[in-house]
Amino acid sequence: MDTALIPEGRKRCPLWQFVLFIAVVGAVLLWGVYAMILCWLKGLNQTNMNNAYGFALWIWADLAVIALGGGAFFSGFLKYIIGKDELKNLINYAVIIGFICYSSALLILAIDIGQPLRGWFIFWHANVHSMLTEVAFCLSCYFAVLTIEFIPLILENRQIDKVRFFHNLSHNMHHIMAVFAATGAFLSFFHQGSLGGVAGVLFARPFGFREGVLIWPWTFFLFTWSAAACGPCFTILITKITEKVTRKKLVKDNVIELLAKISGWMLLTYIVAKIIDTWYWAVVTAPEAGFTMMDFYSNNPLYGLWILFLEIVLGGIVPALILITPAGRKNKATLLLATVLAVIGVCVNRWVMVLQVLAVPVMPFESWFMYAPSWQEVATTILPLAYGAILIAIAHRYLPIFPQEPELNPVEQQAG
């Protein structure tokens, strides 16, 4: 029925299967939309946030998806600026994943603010000294860049491409894509960093505060670095999941291995820097404020040294070592394991830099603040996952995302 829309030389599942998938995931999406509407109509009392937890699950989700969406800017940077041309076979998908991540982040932010109709104040009345202002500007601008990078892909749909103007537009946008990619990389280096700065500049919150250079705390650089390291891992992971779901090989191994290798070295260097940062914070920064490191990891039901181990060792050192080893990244199981661990590692990092910062009691006569999200918060956080799955399904079905797909999966009766 929809054969005319499916890219030439590519095989897709029957329409009923596709519709069933969309319907099932769509039900989850609607659940999230219902929770979102509740939050907008009734306010943030629908959440389990409170005056101790002004930031909670949503801000973590924001930071996490933006880090994971970092695969788009870093692959773009590697392809267009550094000249790793093999990555052209993965860049389309990295852009789509980035687009989903960033649009999700903007949506979550729109739910998270107490007065959504005043959201534009952050631009209009901008306080340039706030890390959040930098985040808002760079995030919006970079989302525009991602949209620009996504448009030519949409225009490559078989039917849309027949319209001569769209064909030309797609061609011309491809032609100067390096300029957009460079702008995107510039913006990303800043907003990924600013997100790190959000907690790093809180000089009255000893768990998050870091010293730094000029106006930027060390977390500024660490966040950019970790996003550049773990974002591509997420791109690889989603590509592997897509291959599993579609039961097709979509990208050649050498492309995946190249990205995995770069990602591994980025992760290794990042984790060394992160260990130095943690050590300096534990022995210098925190004691200056009157805290020992164990003050942050004891006397509470959740946060122990295990979380540091999970983030740094399991989510950092282990995947880095796997990815920098040729045998590690060539083996499908260890490659998958490494990408999953790296994704967990960066998500845990974002969690502690949002939630644990607020959980730690700062006034000596207070105790730890614990928090569990409400169903509305969970539903609105799952919403982007459902939206992402649907967008990927539609994009994969109707757009030629993977240039190597026809070669890897030759269709016998192409003439039909």
Binding site: N51, I113, G114, Q115, H125, G290, L358, M363
Partner: protein
């Protein structure tokens, strides 16, 4: 109006609270709620959802009878000066909805500008910033008793203690009308200061030699909350009890006795 302000010396309003005098009666909290139209809910069980611009904390020395001791610590906004006005919350607000006044030293909150991102709440270690999780609902007839000098806040914005700034504005109007340059100490006092039956709270200009707070802040037993973080708060506490002073900040085990600092 601006011109008149320019002619007066910069003030630095602050508070000194004598914890040895405080009985924990809560009159300051009640006065603050009434003065500033602070909303409340039918069920205030969860204190993390309550709005209490001034909150009285109960401190204990953790010892058993007969050595057990209790101290009540009223905590308004500290109106942190930080380093040259770089207070933790002001610097992070993305929409310039909170401001540090170099004329008064007061950290303001512009309710109509705040869009509820709550970054300031994350920045404040004293938990003085409160979010309006609900729209304010007043018991039948109570809306007629609200103060006309303080705007009522809507759902979705952050609010906090303003050192009763509206009282400063009213007092300054009078000063200007009478052609005077300076405000007398008793012309501007916060509601909590006036309500305290034990006279535990003293309020005034920390820069002014004639104001009581100027001398009190240099009391040998004076301290500020979390000074080590560099927040540079303008609320001072006095306690003759060492364990109370020690709870004013975080110390490593080997750091020994707390010695009151010169200011």
């Amino acid at each position: 109006m601006k011109k008149a302000q320019e002619h007066t010396a910069p003030k630095k309003y602050g508070m000194v609270i004598d914890l040895d005098k405080c009985t924990g009666c809560g009159a300051c909290m009640a006065a603050c709620m009434a003065e500033n139209n602070v909303p409340f809910r039918e069920d205030e069980t969860d204190k993390n959802l309550s709005i209490t611009w001034l909150r009285v904390y109960k401190l204990t020395n953790g010892k058993k009878f007969p050595n057990a001791d209790v101290c009540y610590l009223p905590r308004p906004c500290m109106h942190c000066e930080g380093h040259h006005g770089h207070s933790p919350c002001v610097s992070v607000c993305p929409a310039t909805a909170t401001d540090y006044s170099y004329d008064t030293g007061i950290v303001s909150q512009i309710y109509t500008r705040c869009f509820g991102c709550r970054y300031c709440m994350a920045a404040c270690p004293y938990h003085v910033r409160y979010f309006n999780w609900w729209d304010p609902v007043w018991p039948e007839g109570m809306e007629k008793m609200l103060s006309p000098n303080v705007s009522v806040r809507t759902r979705g914005v952050v609010e906090k203690c303003s050192f009763c700034f509206h009282r400063y504005q009213i007092a300054m109007e009078k000063v200007r009308y009478e052609g005077r340059a300076e405000l007398a100490e008793d012309e501007y006092q916060t509601a909590c200061t006036q309500a305290c039956p034990a006279n535990a709270i003293t309020f005034g200009d920390l820069n002014n030699h004639d104001h009581a707070v100027y001398k009190l802040k240099t009391h040998p037993d004076a301290f500020r909350l979390l000074e080590r973080l560099g927040t540079n708060p303008k609320v001072y506490y006095i306690s003759s009890r060492e364990w109370v002073r020690r709870q004013g900040d975080n110390y490593l085990e080997n750091e020994g006795k707390v010695v009151a600092k010169a200011h």
